[in-house]
């Protein structure tokens, strides 16, 4: 286990001016089993170290002993909130390595369902972030919207959370009968719900004083650390994999990406809310333009990519999630490596937290939107 760099000694309360505080793995606000060791001067954070690994399940090692089609369900358990996006990375990597053409209807359905998953993930982010800062009602309202999306996933894939959505070459089943109706109903109601969340939070002076100027990271620092996703765009850096290396049907979609200016928590909050609106726009267009046809391609008997290595990434809700696959020509991969966005975003935690108070650390962990399943794999 990683040795924490801050010494957790037994100092009596009144002796030294600094205190070492352990925000342990069991904690209601750390979004999973994350251990953060803080060194405090009064209430100000002067040093911070993260201790991860409590959720390590050995996914990359397990996948060296599984066939390519069997690895797909394991990817759902990485970032369990955005399981559909994770599944997409894996199948697209294998398909592109094999040069397998995927029918266009599958591309469009993938786009729609991945964007729905982005909305679901951002809704959960909003729910937990607002809960950490104290607005508990927004938690339940956002989860109510997420419930609608999870119902659509249940009817389409058979599972709500860890969906095992995609197969190499397309999808196992076509859209279910009421798919268009359900998705249309959801996106018709969604903007008004977003306006409701904004009414309670965006102009609220308490929310502003808890999030403006907290956890600032500049664009240059963000690029240096390797941030991606809304954490990067909140600092003003225009980088979105959906635009720069389009996958699925994004090349045909017309959407904008929101960019923040100051790189603080409030900007990231606004960026994610706007991303939900843009996702809704993408789903709307994709539903209009969706072609008919088959949804899966013809596969060889055993899926075997050619010998070599390949890296493919997509824009997941948390950031750029990628897969580096080394194949040795057999039915099981030689090495599979996940590029976890939350793990890399977490590197920025120390820089963002220094100088802030302890209550802000919780807000900053919330704004980075980390999922421990992805960090620890």
């Amino acid at each position: 286990m990683h040795q924490v760099e801050i010494a957790t000694t037994q100092e009596t309360l009144l002796d030294s001016p600094e205190m070492v505080l352990n925000m342990g793995p069991q904690h209601p606000s750390t979004h999973g089993v994350l251990r953060v060791v803080l060194k405090l001067d009064g209430e100000t954070v002067i040093d911070l170290d993260c201790d991860i690994g409590y959720l390590h399940r050995g996914m990359e090692k397990i996948s060296e002993n599984r066939m390519y089609t069997q690895i797909a369900p394991y990817w759902d358990r990485l970032d369990y909130i955005a399981a559909v996006s994770n599944g997409l990375v894996w199948v697209e990597t294998v398909e592109q390595m094999m040069g397998l053409p995927v029918p266009p209807r599958a591309h469009y359905l993938r786009t729609i369902l991945t964007e729905l998953n982005r909305i679901a993930s951002h809704l959960l982010w909003l729910a937990t972030h607002a809960l950490d800062i104290g607005a508990v009602t927004v938690l339940l309202w956002a989860l109510r919207e997420r419930e609608e999306i999870l119902k659509i996933f249940e009817r389409q894939f058979g599972a709500r959370l860890t969906c095992h959505a995609w197969r190499v070459g397309g999808m196992p089943n076509d859209a279910y009968d009421d798919f268009n109706k359900d998705v249309r109903q959801f996106i018709n109601n969604f903007p008004k719900r977003l306006d409701e969340y904004e009414t309670v939070l965006s102009e609220n002076r308490i929310w502003l004083s808890r999030t403006v100027g907290i956890g600032v990271i500049s664009g240059a620092d963000a690029i240096a650390i390797g941030l991606s996703g809304p954490a990067l765009r909140g600092s003003g850096v225009a980088w979105d994999v959906r635009k720069s290396r389009p996958y699925a049907a994004y090349a045909d979609m017309d959407f904008d990406i929101p960019l923040g200016e100051n790189g603080d928590t409030y900007d990231r909050y606004l960026v994610r809310l706007e991303e939900m609106r843009q996702s809704r726009r993408i789903i709307d267009q994709a539903l209009e333009k969706m072609p008919d046809g088959p949804v899966n391609a013809k596969l060889p008997k055993i899926v075997k990519p050619p010998v070599g290595d390949y890296y493919h990434s997509i824009e997941g809700p948390k950031g750029e999630i990628g897969c580096y696959l080394v194949s040795d020509g057999t039915a099981q991969p030689w090495r599979m490596r996940v590029r976890p966005p939350s793990f890399i975003n977490l590197q920025a935690l120390k820089q963002m937290c220094l100088g802030h108070l302890v209550a802000d650390v919780v807000a900053i962990i919330g704004t980075l939107d980390i999922v421990l399943g992805e960090i620890d794999r």
Partner: protein, 453 residues
Amino acid sequence: MWWRLSARSILFWERLIAEMLLLSPINLLNDLLLKFFSQETITFFVWPLIQILLVVTLVALWVAYATYLERKISAFMQARLGPMRVGPWGLLQPIADGLKLLTKEDFIPESADRWIFFFAPYIAVASAFIVFSVIPFGPDWAVIADVNIGLLLVLAVSSVGVLALILAGWSSNSKYALLGGLRSSAQMVSYEVAMGLSLIGALMFARTLSLSGIVAAQGSDSIWYIVYQPAGFLIFLISGIAENNRAPFDLPEAESELVAGFHTEYSGMRWSLFFMAEYAAMVVVAAIATTVYLGGWYFPFVYRLEAGGYHNLFVLVSVLVFLVKASIILYVYFWLRWTLPRFRYDQLMDIGWKWLIPSTLINIVLSGFAIFLVQALDGWRGIKTIQALDRGLNLTATGKVIMIIIGLAGVFVTAALLARINWRSRDFNLRTQRRNIRLVNLPKGKPAVQPGS
């Protein structure tokens, strides 16, 4: 065999009901008790005992069902149902919770300071409940002890509750419980200053510290003091909420990243005593706010019951009016908790010391100036502003209009002065909500693989 009731017993029941509704004192019960005790014992011991029992039962039930109502109201605000399983609509939920807590294991941590750990919850509950002895639930026999320094007693006794927090945090022998207890008590002490000072504005009109006297003053003036003192009411309510460690000021007890609060080590019945003390303190603040600003048990047209001779009915209806008004303020407590995010601790202390206390001082000065103005204008060029001075400051219509105008102008003056004092404050400079995000349409890159068919 009810038809065999003798004429004498029918007369007894009729008399009892008639007396309970109409007459005061309840002579029949008094005669019954005179058989066992002397009149003095009855007046000074037995009647107050009955009153105390009634008030304690009422408050205990109110506190228990306040927890139930909080859960239901918060559920409705969140588009869900709340407790539904225990009893119809979940009405027996507080009883189920109480029974569960009674049957939990009562342990005291080994390294804790036994006796202080033992006593701290009792101090909290006692101080919260003692206050109810002076609160006027109704006019005549609905107040246990109408002390002529009632308001001062309320403020003093509720301060003792802070002691219980510190003792609980200290005796738990845990670094985090101690820090949590110290933070909570520092917050409570800061907001007590603002609470006490904000009441002075209304006291200038009532001219008495007795709580029944304040209600009588509002009654005789036919006005609720919230009309004269809107700023005072708001400041009192906000400091009351902060005093009770309720949202949006509940960082010490909700933000468990640093401390789980002073009551970490408590479980079972001891914890439920702290919980009851918190809700009882909420009810105290609601009751004081009702008494001083919302007219207490006074409501127009109810006095006609008294005039009609139905004295006891009048008292009961007044008690009901009081409970309804206090419940409205409790609803505001729940409403604020489940809507607003919470303040950070330094922002909380900022608000207490730099915003609320200066505004209470400005409020006192402005109220004093307003009363001086009204007294000076009385009799000048034939304007009559003051009606009477025996039961509080009773003003004529002219006087009331002048007072209301000055009150509203005072709110603006307070705001301007506070803005001047706090111009350096970081949070104050978050003047506008900015939407500094911009939407960008990036040029599309080359996809990794051409989407084939």
